[in-house]
Amino acid sequence: MLELRIARRIGALELRVELTLDREAALIAGPNGAGKSTLLRLLLGVLRPETGRIALEGRTLFDAAAAIDLAVEERELGYLPQDYALFPHLDVMGNATFGLARLPRRERLRRAGEWLEKLGVGHLARRFPAGLSGGERQRVALARSLARNPRALLLDEPFAALDPIARRELRGSMRSWLQEWRLPALIVSHDSADAVLADRIAVMEHGQLVQQDTLEELRRAPASAFVAGFVSATPDSA
């Protein structure tokens, strides 16, 4: 369970979000500049909220009142930035084992290898990121994050870097993975087609959540013009 209730002012943007995810995926939608990526940075610990609290599986990651602020590397969050950020100087196995440095070598290779296989990119273990397609890179990045057994996943525009065919293909895979893993997941996207991945959609505008509900509810009673436009563009979940 991921609970967050945080606020932070950044320049002209006043961000205030309250959200609870119980082993479900939420799509964070909104126009440019709404603060979606900022929200992720606040969760990751790269940016510090001014007030509020973040808790994950009973662990407090941040609490302004109690002066708790865990370092990024202690939060056990899996993160996929927009371009997947694979380490170009390491091969696929090197990338996948990066987060497992505490384990003995054999265990490291086994665990990373397992995840790479599970995501269908085990055969690429010796290849370098530069030679991989967008879809392959995404899977390697996922394997890399998941090998650490994170307690929540944060995905920033996961398909923006892909061509439409790869996009459709991976969206399908992602949907079944998310349903299989049952991790709290936050997916930031401006693409309404990604709504199929999530159990819930949270729409941000100007740093605030304007509506948070299932796709059907958003369609039935959109809270703003943007929401209305967003859900009308959304294809019906297959």
Binding site: L44, G45, V46, A71, V72, E73, R75, L77, G78, Y79, P81, Q82, D83, A85, L86, F87, P88, H89, F98, G99, A101, R102, P129, A130, R144, S145, R148, P150
Partner: protein, 272 residues
Amino acid sequence: MRLRAASAWGAAQLFASALLGLFLLLPVVALFAGSSWDDFSSGLRNPLLLPALRLSLLTTGSSLALVVGLGSLVAWRVARNPGRASRWMEAITQLPAVIPPAVAGVGLLLAFGRRGLFGGWLDRHGIALAFTTPAVILAEAFVSAPFFVQAAIAAFRRLDENLLVVARTLGASPFRTFARVGLPLAAPGLAAGAAMSWARAVGEFGATLFFAGNMTGRTQTMPLAIYTAMESDLHAAQALSLVMVLLAFALLFILRRLAPGGALPGTELPGA
């Protein structure tokens, strides 16, 4: 009318190239010409050569280690932590580049000489700094530091921040992120900066002469040996100069191999 202006412009460029090219080449060519092989080899046997070569390699190696060791940490901090303190630090590291070497030598002496600001304290504790081999290392480090630090700051700035954030989410401490992701990816830029820094240190003359003196075996680096050889053995001066020119050519070759274009993909900022 247009045609005449165009060819006059073309001619001016050609003329400038010829003039500048000749001017820059002539002294180097003169070093190679103007002496027979016998003169050159007798010059190579001058007793000043080996101690100077050994000292230059030892001191520039040490000063490079100092500059790279400290400079990498400083550059990382400045590049990844923008703010007023970083801006000041960056300006401080640029200082030696705008100070004439002789002035640097005087400054070093006033700071670390026996009668100097800090040197007085050192002297009372039995530590002599001026006119010793460590003084050479300090003088070289002083004048060459900006070249490495500037290049390192630029190289670290070019890193994609996402790579560093992801590394942290994968459990890497800030140090491990620096050592396992930042350093390797910035390595080509760092290496080029180190090469420039080393070149500056090898050629350092003024600051060394003033702060470290000119004693064979102890503080007489290659440039100082050439200066001294001019007093007694011109062929030795020529031979030493040729050795340094060859070193310079080698360095130029290395630098061109490390120039941008050797950067790894992923070190450019998104959108680049």
